[in-house]
Amino acid sequence: MGEVILTMKDIDKSFPGVHALDHVDFELKRGEVHALMGENGAGKSTLMKVLTGIYTKDSGTITYEGREVEFHNTRDAQAAGIVIVHQELNMVGDLTVAQNIFIGREFKKGFMIDDRKMIQESKKLFDELHINIDPKAKMSDLTVGKQQMCEIAKAISHQAKVIIFDEPSAALTEKEIEDLFAIIRDLRKQNLGIIYISHRMDEIKVITDRVTVMRDGAYVGTLITDECTKEDIINMMVGRVIYEDPKTHSMVPADAPVVLKVEHLNAGKMVQDVSFELRKGEILGFSGLMGAGRTETARALFGADPKTGGDIYINGKKVTINSPEDAVKNGIGYLSEDRKRFGIVVQKTITENSTLATLPKYMSGLFINKGAEKEVTEKYIKELDTKTPSADQLVVNLSGGNQQKVVIAKWLVRNCDILIFDEPTRGIDVGAKNEIYKLMNRLASEGKSIIMISSEMTEILRMSDRIIVMCEGKKTGEISIEEATQEAIMDKATRDIK
């Protein structure tokens, strides 16, 4: 480890209604891999966005290479040598791999962009990284994993001094992760500073030198990786919040009836011959890597995407589900992983969102019975403890956790027996997360059946009665909670590739 290259001090940032960063400190040295950890919503990504100029900080200082700096956009940051590999893929699908890697700093021959040189350089870059990607391929034709590798290659090609990896491994196979680590070690040798954001405790131990932990937008502390244990880090991350006790055994009675049976479900490449059963009162966890086909399975089951085959039985009766309309009629509700895009209508009120799936029930003749609508909305605001001044509040003004509660309320109003929760706690702060867990357990105990898709291993292990593991569109395993361990799940989630 060399001298300090970057210091962030007292960084403060607020969004309307959210104190996203509360006087956070951070320090990075040359030749170090520094992990930044924290639960979802702890403020890691926000801190990095402040660093790279995407957000403007409210107060605090950033010292980089001995000088105080303030970047106004990513371009400034890049020019100074700070690049970020984003969590969400930021690729221009209509351009080729090489064009994407060099976007914003194309090689030029006179007026002309020198595409040939860009392709050569990309090849060189990929060779160095031992990745096999055709630089001339169109970006949108690549798999998510490969796109991620391109994103990393792009960052590295920037002659950077500081590289930020924001959850880079989420979509990668184990082999690809190995490659990534090799690359990171190589970069460390070249005396670069690396910030590594990840949830995977194992990786942190393997690759990083120091760990900084954040919680609820605040700085908690920094540890030297070799000198601490996993538990130390987890304690710092979780802090005061006492989660629901992890399940040690299934809470579902052995004789609970099967409410949903899916047989040989097929839908494109991402859903291949998936079969499973769901019992009354059960929380069925779906685990796997990003891009394993869990969301696609849920969407196909819900009728949101077209299926190519498979049978669905509800309470033993075969049903046809060709559209979400059919699914909802059959008592299935779906909470999407992408709340803003698929879950809520942000510019509308809580009331309007709550009754969206049930509107025909709240009609008196031709007109909407606004009184009854408001009544039921207020009932669920109270029941779910949604924090809002009134039922007429626009959903856009709510925090992530409360927005999620509005979506849940939508399905509870509908009285759905089968609920699909796709990443129910993504982008939700820690306190709200626990409330959602409690709520899920309560719903299960009331006899609702829940399919929970989650990428957080701790969440899967904490909540599920039974776990289904998927990999590359196929179901690769089914594990009871008693037998489940992180290793067992990871093994199945990556089984095919090894």
């Binding site: 956009n73 990513t74 984003h86 930021n90 080729t96 962009i113 595409d115 001339k136």
Partner: protein, 322 residues
């Protein structure tokens, strides 16, 4: 760009349609095949093709420019006014027309990129404003540009030259092809073109890649305005007398041409040669159907259905690939 892609891209299909249309019209009407008919068609094609080349850029960014039709008339009126009332040399007046177009284009760009107005609305407003301006500068009067035989009418020969043996050559077609190649080159091989595609495909990613998206977004509309300015000269050269209050609806033919020529209606993809071919398909329908005995009004109905057909085929094609 990838090898597995079928060679039957929209551009190729539209190209085949264009050739097929030509031969169908030719077979049915012997007059259609005459060289003079071809010349007349070319005359009228120039300003549509120029507008289409320009508007392809906003379309590829996922936007649109509705101000080019009325704009073109407005610029032609302004230039014509200078020649007629202020004895400005033709060359200078032409330059003013083009710069006027560029200016309105820049204004569109600022409204959309800096002030954040939706492109449809911003250009709808400039469409109304240019239409009004055109009438205001001329006091609502029609403005004749100099005819080819007048001293200052040399600009007609930019688009058509007469050889010693009285043969006429559609020189304008050369310019259209040249500009098409240049702009295709710009789109495919310069930063400006690349960022145009990037803005249309994933604007957020473009911003995060450190591109000055605001600047390039303005430039996209400036190009559209510039080409509307160029079109105004082609219009003046062919139609000669420019009437204020006209021009509305011409932009739709140009945009329709670009869409038929494979420019994605949602942005992110398009080629300039496809755009030009598409514009000529629309023009062939407009100009060719009267030759094969169609009621002039049937042509509008057919054009409407061709437009829907072209886009529907594209939608179905994409669904099949998925």
């Amino acid at each position: 760009m990838t090898k597995k892609k079928s060679i039957f891209t929209q551009e190729v299909i539209v190209g085949i349609v264009l050739v097929a249309l030509y031969f169908i019209f030719r077979t049915i009407s012997s007059d259609f095949g005459k060289y003079t008919t071809f010349l007349s068609m070319m005359d009228i094609s120039y300003y549509y093709a120029l507008m289409a080349i320009g508007v392809a850029f906003p379309l590829i960014t996922g936007g649109v420019d509705l101000s080019i039709g009325t704009g073109m008339i407005c610029y032609a009126l302004a230039g014509g006014c200078l020649i007629r009332f202020y004895n400005v040399p033709t060359g200078l007046a032409m330059l003013v027309s083009v710069l006027f177009g560029l200016g309105i284009g820049l204004a569109n760009g600022v409204l959309i990129s800096v002030m954040g107005l939706p492109p449809f609305l911003a250009t709808l407003c400039t469409c109304m404003i240019t239409r009004g301006l055109g009438s205001v500068v001329t006091g609502s009067f029609a403005i004749p540009w100099p005819t080819a035989k007048q001293d200052n009418g040399w600009f007609h020969s930019i688009f058509k030259i007469t050889l010693a043996d009285k043969t006429k050559l559609p020189l304008g077609l050369v310019w259209i092809i040249l500009l098409m190649l240049i702009m295709q080159f710009v789109l495919a091989h310069t930063r400006f073109g690349r960022y145009t595609i990037a803005i249309g495909s994933n604007k957020e990613a473009a911003i995060l890649s450190g591109i000055n998206v605001k600047f390039y977004h303005i430039m996209v509309y400036a190009v559209s305005g510039l080409f509307a300015g160029l079109a105004s000269i082609a219009y003046a050269a062919v139609i000669k007398t420019v009437q204020p209050g006209t021009g509305a609806g011409m932009e739709l033919d140009a945009i329709g041409g670009a869409i038929v020529g494979g420019v994605s209606a949602s942005g992110g993809y398009g080629t300039i040669y496809g755009t030009v071919i598409g514009a000529y398909v629309i023009l062939f329908l407009k100009q060719g159907l009267p030759y094969i005995g169609f009621n002039a009004n049937m042509q509008q109905i057919i054009t409407g259905f061709v437009l829907i057909g072209a886009v529907t085929i594209d939608i179905i094609k994409r669904k099949v690939i998925k």
